[in-house]
C-alpha cells in the first residue's frame, strides 16, 4: 500500500512541476443512459487518457450527460457528482482511476512521517491536496494559484508557492468559509491562530483575510451553528484556503448570540449585537412566528413605544433614526399587520446585526442605529425548502442550485389569511379587513474565485380597513445587485446598485362627493462602492463612497371617481442627492491595544424642480412672514449641506478575557419622519432637509467593559453612553402633516439628550442558554427654536415618548434533549410617558379635559412573560421531510399591560381608559416542515 501511495505522490509532484506547461484539452460528449464501458471508451478516445476501472463495480451505473467543450475533470465531476463513485486524474501519466466507495488519495495522511520535527520544514514531504483540489485547478481559468479546498482536519495543507526554506515573516491567507452541505458561505465565523491572539471574522460573504507568520500553523474555526473545527497548514507564501465546515446536526444544540465568542472581547466594535436566526427562532413570539424585530427589542438599549409596534428606539433615538437594511436595501416600514409581524421572513434570514454605538463609517444617513438584516444564500448543492403554518400566516421557502456549486437561488414568500377570521368577529368589527404578503428573492453567482454577483429583491404589501370606509395600504419594493471583486489578496471591494421604494395609499369612497385616493411614495436609487485594503497584519483600511438619489412624492390626492368634488392636490415632488466619502483605519498599536479611526464626509444637495419660500429672519415661519418665493429649475442645486462625521473606537485588552472599549461617533440625518402618532403608521410623512429644515445631527460617546467567563461561554458587558441630538423635528399642536405644501410652518426644531447604562450577560452554550439585559436610560427633548411661536413646556426639557428608564429582559432556552426544549422570555419596563389630563371643564355641552405639560406622567409599568415548547421531529438525516412544532403561550400571566391610556367623553362625563392589546394569555402553535 505504501508503495502505491508513494507512487501516486511522485506522479502528483511531477504534475505540479509540469502542469503549467501542459494545457488541458477540452472535449465534448453526449451520453444517454450510457454504461460504464461505453463511457470510458469514448472518454479514452477523446481525451487520450487511459482509464483504470473495475467495470463490475460500476455495473449499476448509467450515465446521462451532455457537455460541450469542457476539461476532462469537469466531465468526470459532473458524471460522478452525488454518487458513491470517485475519480482521480494523473495528468502526467494521462491516467484516470475510477473507484467505488473509496477515493484514491493523492495526498498523505497527516503524521505519516512521524520523524518530522517542527522547525525543519524543508525536510517535510508535502502532503498534497486531494483530488478535489486537482479538479479545482482544471476548472479555474485563473492564472493564479487556485484556492485550496480544505475539508479535512487531520491533514496538513500547503499554501502558496512551495520553497525549500520557508522565509521568515508574514504572509496573507484568505478564502471562504463555507457550509459543506449547502455550499453557503458562513458569515461571522472566527478564524483564530492557535496559541496566539490573532484572529479574524469572516465578512458578509464568508470571506476572510488573515496575516500569519509563515510556516506551520493551526487554525481554529468557530462558526454559528457549525461544528468547531481546525485546519493545519504550512504557509509558504500568500495563498488561499477555502474551509468547509459541517453544520451542527441538531438544530437546537448550540445557540450563539454573538458571532464569535472571542470577538466579543477582542473586536473594537462596541454596542454591536449579532443574532443568528436559530436564537431568534427560540424566542417565543405572539402567533408563534419568529419575529426578528421583537427579538431585537430584548437587547439592551432597544425599546419600543408599545406592543403592537415594530418601530423601535435605540438609545433615545426616534423610530426613523434607525437605518434598517435588508441585504443592503433600505426598508422604510419594517412592519406588517399593525406591527404584529415584522417585515423579515424568518425562514430565509440568516442573521441580524444591530450597531448602536460604534457605527462603521460605511453606514450613514441615520442618527441612532443600523440594523443590518442578511438573508441566506441559496443552497448551492441541492434543492431544499421549508414551509410553516401559523395561526394567521403561512410561509414557504425554496432554494437550490441553478448551476451547481456556482449559482443558487433562494425564494421566500409569506401571506396572511386573516380575513376569514376577522369576519367571525362581532358585527361592529366584522367589516374590518387586514392582510399582507411579502416575497424575497436572492440569487448568488460565483463567476470565479475573484468575482461574485448577488442579486436581491424584496416586495411587501399590506392593506387594512378598520371598521371604517377608509382603506389603507402600504408596501416596500427593493432590488439591488452586488458585485464582489477581489483585486488581490490585499484589496477587495463590493459594488452595489440598488433601488428602494416605500409607498402608501389611503382611499375612501363612502361619500361620493368626498371620495378620494391619496398616494404617497419615497424612491431612492443607491450607488455604493466599498473597499477594504489589508495593509499589514496590524493595519486594515476601509474606504469607499456612496450616493443616494431621493425622489419623494409627498402626497397626491385625487378624486375617487367622477362623482367626487375633491380637487386634485399634489404636493410637488422633492429631490435630493446624498453622497458620502469615507475612510477608516483599524490599527493594532500593540496586540492588546487597537484603535479604529474613521471619517465620513457627507454632502447633501437639495435639488429642483421646486418652489421654496424664504421667511423673514427671526420671525415664526408663518405664511404671513414669507419674504420671497423662489422657483428653481430641474436638477438645480437649491441648498447644500455637508458635514464631516467622526467614527472612532478603541479597545484595550486588560487580559485574555477582559477588555475596555470606548467610542465616539457623530452622525447626520437628512431625511425626517413626521408622525403625530406614537408608531410608524401609513399616514406618516417623510421630509427631506431643505433651506428651511436643517438636517438632524447627533453625537454619542460610549464606554464599555467586556468580560468573558467560563472559557468564553458566558459573556458579560457594561456600556454607558451619552448622546446629543440637534434639529430633531417635533410638530406643533394640531399640525397638518399630510398634503402640506409648507410643512416648515407646522414643525418646530427640538434638541435632545440621552444617556444610559446597559448591562448584558449572555450564556452561549450548555443546556441552559440565553441572555439577561438591564438598561437604565433617559431621553429628553427640548424645544430650542425661539421663533417657533408656541413653546412646548415653556421651552423646558420633557421626556421623549419612548423614555423608559428601567428596562429588563430575560430570554432563555433550556434543552432537555436534542428534540425537546423550552423557552422563556420575561420583559419588564417602566411605563412610557404620557400627557395626562389635569383638569376638566364644561365646553360645548360636554365635559372636557385640560392636559398637563407634554409627557409629564407615565402609564403603568410593563410586564410580560412568554413561554414556548419546541419539539423537533426525529433526527434521521436521510428522510424526506423534517418537521418541528412550536407551541406556547404569549403573555403567560395575562397581565393587561397598558398600550395607551386615554380619556374620553361619553354622554357628557369623562372617563379614563387604558387600552391593552394582548390582555390575556394567548396560546399559539406553529408547524414547520423542512424538505
Amino acid at each position: 500500500m505504501k508503495r502505491a501511495y508513494l507512487f501516486i505522490i511522485f506522479l502528483f509532484i511531477v504534475k505540479l512541476v509540469s502542469a503549467q506547461n501542459t494545457p488541458e484539452k477540452n472535449i465534448s460528449v453526449n451520453f444517454q443512459q450510457t454504461k460504464i464501458e461505453a463511457f470510458v471508451d469514448e472518454l479514452e478516445a477523446k481525451s487520450g487518457y487511459h482509464f483504470y476501472v473495475d467495470t463490475a463495480q460500476f455495473d449499476s451505473l448509467k450515465i446521462t450527460l451532455q457537455v460541450n467543450d469542457k476539461p476532462l475533470a469537469a466531465i468526470l465531476g459532473m458524471a460522478f457528482n452525488n454518487t458513491i463513485y470517485h475519480y482521480t486524474i494523473i495528468p502526467e501519466a494521462a491516467q484516470v482511476f475510477l473507484t467505488k466507495g473509496k477515493q484514491i488519495k493523492t495526498g498523505l495522511a497527516s503524521g505519516y512521517f512521524n520523524n518530522t520535527r517542527p522547525g525543519h520544514n524543508n525536510q517535510v514531504l508535502p502532503g498534497v491536496a486531494a483530488a478535489t483540489a486537482v479538479t479545482a485547478t482544471e476548472f479555474s481559468g485563473d492564472k493564479e494559484a487556485p484556492a485550496t479546498e480544505a475539508t479535512i482536519e487531520n491533514k496538513t495543507y500547503e499554501i502558496g508557492l512551495k520553497t525549500n526554506n520557508i522565509q521568515p515573516g508574514n504572509s496573507i491567507l484568505s478564502g471562504y468559509v463555507k457550509d459543506i452541505k449547502s455550499g453557503e458561505s458562513v458569515v461571522g465565523a472566527s478564524i483564530v491562530v492557535a496559541d496566539t491572539k490573532t484572529g479574524v471574522v469572516t465578512d458578509q460573504f464568508g470571506y476572510y483575510t488573515i496575516t500569519l507568520p509563515r510556516g506551520r500553523q493551526t487554525l481554529i474555526i468557530h462558526g454559528i451553528g457549525m461544528r468547531d473545527t481546525k485546519r493545519q497548514i504550512i504557509l509558504y507564501s500568500e495563498g488561499r484556503l477555502n474551509i468547509e465546515m459541517q453544520e451542527q446536526v441538531f438544530a437546537l444544540k448550540e445557540v450563539k448570540i454573538s458571532a464569535d465568542k472571542v470577538a466579543n472581547v477582542r473586536s473594537t466594535e462596541m454596542g454591536t449585537n449579532k443574532l443568528d436566526i436559530k436564537s431568534i427562532k427560540q424566542v417565543p413570539a405572539v402567533f408563534g412566528e419568529a419575529d426578528i424585530l421583537r427579538v431585537v427589542l430584548t437587547l439592551p438599549g432597544v425599546q419600543s413605544v408599545g406592543e403592537a409596534t415594530t418601530g423601535f428606539n435605540v438609545r433615545g433615538g426616534s423610530a426613523d433614526q434607525n437605518l434598517i437594511l435588508l441585504n443592503d436595501a433600505t426598508i422604510y416600514n419594517p412592519s406588517h399587520f399593525f406591527g404584529f409581524f415584522s417585515a423579515f421572513d424568518p425562514d430565509i434570514v440568516k442573521d441580524v446585526e444591530l450597531y448602536k454605538s460604534s457605527i462603521p463609517e460605511k453606514y450613514g444617513g441615520r442618527l441612532a442605529s443600523v440594523l443590518d438584516v442578511t438573508d441566506r444564500e441559496g443552497n448551492k448543492k441541492l434543492f431544499t425548502g421549508t414551509a410553516g403554518i401559523g395561526l394567521l400566516t403561512s410561509r414557504i421557502n425554496i432554494e437550490g442550485p441553478i448551476i451547481k456549486d456556482k449559482t443558487s437561488f433562494i425564494l421566500g414568500a409569506r401571506t396572511s389569511y386573516s380575513d376569514w377570521l376577522l369576519s367571525m368577529l362581532p358585527e361592529e368589527y366584522k367589516h374590518s379587513e387586514a392582510s399582507f404578503y411579502d416575497v424575497n428573492l436572492g440569487i448568488s453567482h460565483q463567476i470565479n474565485d475573484k468575482n461574485n454577483i448577488y442579486v436581491n429583491g424584496y416586495l411587501s404589501h399590506d392593506q387594512f380597513k378598520l371598521n371604517s370606509d377608509t382603506a389603507y395600504s402600504y408596501g416596500n419594493k427593493n432590488a439591488n445587485i452586488k458585485w464582489k471583486h477581489n483585486f488581490n489578496d490585499k484589496l477587495f471591494s463590493v459594488f452595489l446598485v440598488g433601488y428602494d421604494r416605500y409607498q402608501y395609499s389611503v382611499s375612501s369612497d363612502a361619500n361620493p362627493v368626498n371620495g378620494y385616493n391619496l398616494n404617497y411614495n419615497i424612491n431612492q436609487s443607491n450607488l455604493k462602492a466599498d473597499f477594504t485594503y489589508y495593509v499589514t497584519r496590524k493595519n486594515t483600511i476601509d474606504f469607499g463612497l456612496s450616493s443616494i438619489y431621493y425622489k419623494l412624492h409627498s402626497g397626491d390626492e385625487e378624486p375617487y371617481n367622477n362623482k367626487s368634488l375633491v380637487v386634485p392636490d399634489v404636493v410637488p415632488a422633492e429631490q435630493a442627492l446624498e453622497s458620502a466619502l469615507y475612510f477608516g483605519d483599524k490599527y493594532d498599536i500593540t496586540p492588546n491595544f487597537t484603535v479604529d479611526l474613521g471619517v465620513r464626509y457627507s454632502i447633501y444637495n437639495y435639488l429642483g424642480a421646486q418652489t421654496v419660500d424664504y421667511y423673514a429672519p427671526n420671525l415664526p415661519k408663518q405664511s404671513s412672514n414669507v419674504l420671497d418665493s423662489v422657483t428653481y429649475g430641474k436638477n438645480k442645486v437649491i441648498k447644500t449641506y455637508s458635514r464631516p462625521e467622526i467614527r472612532a473606537s478603541a479597545r484595550y485588552n486588560l487580559n485574555d478575557n477582559t477588555s475596555l472599549k470606548a467610542s465616539y461617533n457623530t452622525l447626520t440625518q437628512y431625511i425626517h419622519l413626521l408622525s403625530n402618532t406614537t408608531a410608524i403608521s401609513p399616514t406618516d410623512v417623510y421630509k427631506l432637509s431643505d433651506p428651511n429644515i436643517k438636517p438632524q445631527t447627533g453625537d454619542q460617546v460610549s464606554l464599555g467593559i467586556y468580560k468573558n467567563l467560563q472559557s468564553n461561554t458566558i459573556e458579560t458587558s457594561v456600556e454607558v453612553y451619552y448622546k446629543r441630538i440637534r434639529n430633531y423635528l417635533d410638530y406643533k399642536s394640531g399640525a397638518t402633516l399630510l398634503l402640506n405644501d409648507h410643512i416648515e410652518q407646522d414643525v418646530i426644531n427640538t434638541q435632545g439628550k440621552a444617556y444610559g447604562v446597559e448591562f448584558l450577560v449572555k450564556k452561549t452554550e450548555g443546556k441552559l442558554n440565553g441572555w439577561v439585559s438591564y438598561t437604565y436610560s433617559r431621553t429628553f427633548l427640548r424645544q430650542d427654536d425661539p421663533y417657533a411661536g408656541e413653546l412646548i413646556n415653556n421651552g423646558n426639557y420633557y421626556p421623549a415618548n419612548y423614555d423608559k428608564p428601567n428596562d429588563f429582559n430575560f430570554t432563555g432556552n433550556y434543552r432537555f434533549t436534542h428534540r425537546y426544549s423550552v423557552s422563556l422570555n420575561v420583559v419588564y419596563s417602566t411605563g412610557r410617558p404620557i400627557t395626562l389630563p389635569v383638569a376638566k371643564y364644561y365646553y360645548d355641552n360636554a365635559e372636557r379635559v385640560y392636559y398637563s405639560d407634554r409627557n409629564a406622567y407615565r402609564i403603568p409599568d410593563y410586564f410580560r412573560s412568554d413561554f414556548s415548547v419546541n419539539i423537533e421531529g426525529n433526527h434521521k438525516v436521510h428522510q424526506r421531510f423534517h418537521n418541528s412544532w412550536t407551541f406556547g403561550v404569549y403573555n403567560l400571566t395575562g397581565r393587561a399591560n397598558a398600550y395607551s391610556t386615554y380619556f374620553t367623553e361619553q354622554g357628557g362625563s369623562i372617563n379614563g381608559y387604558q387600552l391593552s392589546i394582548f390582555a390575556k394569555p394567548i396560546p399559539f402553535i406553529n408547524y414547520n416542515i423542512r424538505f
Binding site: 376577522l422 361619500n511 380637487v567 395626562l836 389630563p837 364644561y842 372636557r848 387604558q914 394567548i922
Partner: protein, 391 residues
C-alpha cells in the same frame, strides 16, 4: 361538536387580539388644583342676543363639572372702538341684547373677573353663515343617520360647525289607567293626568365639524350630524332636530378640531397624541396663565326637521329599564286576607303606579296590576307638556 369547540377557541383568540382590552384608568396623580378660566360662546352679529358662558376648570376627581364664574364684566369691542356690554343672566352666563352688528368689522371680547384679572380675546372677523340647505337622513341597517347639506354660493365659508337640540315623543312601558284617590281606593285616571306620553329632549354633546376647503366648490354634502340607533326610543314615535350652523374661520375650525381630538377621538392605535390647546383668549395681567376657549363672531343659521316612526323600518325600541308587573288584590289569597290595594296603591306619595284592573268572575275589579315609576311614569325622564314649537 369537536369542531364547534374549536370554533369558540379560535374566536376567543382572535377577539382578544383584535379587540384588545379596555379597562377604566383613574391615576391618582391628577389632583393638582388648576383653576383656569373657560370662555365659551359666539359673538352673534345677527338678530339674536349674544350669550357668553364663563366657568372655571375643576379637578378631574371633582364631582361637579360646571363651576360658573360669577360677577365678571364682559364687553364686546369692535375694531371701530364701539363697545357692547353683556349683563349676567346667572349661572355664569352673560347676555347682550340683540346687536345686529356690521359683518365687515372685527370684534373681540374683554373680560374682567372678580379676582382682578383681565382677559382679552384676539379680534375675529364676523362671518355671515350661509343658510342650511336641508337636513335629511339615511336609513342604515342598524339605525338612522341624520345629515346636513349646505353650500356657500360665494365659495367663501369653507369651515362649518354645528350643534343641535333634539326633541322626541316617547312612551312609558305601561300605560297607567288608574290613579289613587288619596284616601280609599284607586279610580280611573283622567286624560289631564296621563303619564304615558312625554317629550324628551337633548342637546349635542360632541363637536360636529365640516369643511369644504379641499373641494372645488364650497359644498357640504351629507355631512353626518347624529346617528340614532334603531333601538333608541327617540325614534319610537316622532323625532325633531333643530340644527344650528356656524361659519368658522380656519383658526377657529382648527381649535375645535384639536379640542375634538383631545377629548373625543383618542385611544385607537393610529390616533394622534393629545396636544396642547391654545385658544384666542389671553390673560393680560398674567401672560403665563392658560385660558381655555375660542371666541368667534358671526351670524347663526338654523333649521328644524321632523322624522316620524312611519318613515323608518319596523324597529323595536329597547326600553331603558327592566320592567315587570305585580298585582295587588282587594283580598289577598291565603288564610288571613288583607286589602293590598289599600296598602300598596292608595297611599300617596307612592312608588307603585297602578296600571290596569284585574277582574274575577264578577263585574268589579278584584285587584290592579302595578309597576314602578321607571316603567309607568314617563315624566321622570321627560316633559308632559308639548313644546311650543312642536308640530
Amino acid at each position: 361538536m369537536k369542531k364547534n369547540g374549536k370554533y369558540i377557541i379560535w374566536c376567543g383568540i382572535i377577539a382578544m387580539w383584535a379587540l384588545g382590552c379596555k379597562k377604566p384608568y383613574t391615576p391618582n396623580v391628577i389632583s393638582s388644583n388648576n383653576n383656569y378660566l373657560v370662555v365659551e360662546g359666539v359673538i352673534n352679529t345677527g338678530g339674536d342676543s349674544t350669550v357668553i358662558r364663563l366657568s372655571r376648570t375643576v379637578n378631574l376627581s371633582s364631582g361637579v363639572t360646571i363651576n360658573p364664574e360669577l360677577n365678571a364684566t364682559v364687553i364686546i369691542q369692535s375694531d371701530q372702538n364701539q363697545t357692547y356690554s353683556l349683563h349676567s343672566i346667572g349661572n355664569g352666563q352673560y347676555a347682550s341684547t340683540p346687536l345686529t352688528l356690521d359683518n365687515t368689522r372685527k370684534y373681540r371680547l374683554s373680560i374682567g373677573t372678580s379676582d382682578g384679572k383681565a382677559f382679552l380675546s384676539d379680534y375675529v372677523p364676523a362671518i355671515a353663515t350661509p343658510p342650511i340647505d336641508s337636513v335629511g337622513f339615511t336609513i342604515l341597517n342598524n339605525g338612522v343617520q341624520i345629515y346636513v347639506n349646505t353650500h356657500d354660493p360665494n365659495n367663501n365659508t369653507h369651515y362649518y360647525r354645528w350643534d343641535y337640540n333634539e326633541t322626541w315623543i316617547f312612551h312609558a312601558k305601561y300605560d297607567s289607567e288608574y290613579i289613587s284617590n288619596d284616601s280609599t281606593d284607586v279610580v280611573p285616571r283622567s286624560p289631564d293626568k296621563q303619564i304615558y306620553q312625554c317629550w324628551g329632549s337633548g342637546i349635542s354633546t360632541v363637536i360636529t365639524l365640516g369643511s369644504s376647503a379641499k373641494l372645488s366648490q364650497d359644498v357640504i354634502y351629507q355631512s353626518p350630524i347624529i346617528f340614532i340607533p334603531s333601538t333608541s326610543e327617540k325614534i319610537e314615535s316622532r323625532y325633531s332636530i333643530l340644527l344650528k350652523q356656524y361659519a368658522m374661520t380656519s383658526d377657529g375650525y382648527n381649535y375645535y378640531t384639536i379640542l375634538k381630538k383631545n377629548t373625543e377621538q383618542l385611544g385607537s392605535i393610529f390616533d394622534a397624541q393629545p396636544s396642547q390647546l391654545t385658544g384666542n383668549i389671553h390673560c393680560t395681567t398674567d401672560a403665563t396663565l392658560p385660558v381655555i376657549g375660542y371666541i368667534s363672531a358671526g351670524t347663526v343659521q338654523q333649521k328644524r326637521v321632523y322624522i316620524n316612526n312611519s318613515q323608518l323600518p319596523t324597529w323595536q325600541p329597547t326600553y331603558p329599564y327592566t320592567c315587570g308587573l305585580d298585582t295587588a288584590f282587594y283580598a289577598s289569597k291565603g288564610p288571613n286576607p288583607v286589602n293590598q290595594v289599600l296598602q300598596n296603591l292608595v297611599p300617596q306619595p307612592n312608588s307603585n303606579i297602578t296600571i290596569y284592573a284585574v277582574f274575577g268572575n264578577g263585574p268589579n275589579p278584584i285587584g290592579y296590576t302595578y309597576s314602578d315609576p321607571d316603567c309607568a311614569d314617563c315624566s321622570i325622564r321627560g316633559s308632559l307638556t308639548k313644546p311650543s314649537f312642536w308640530q
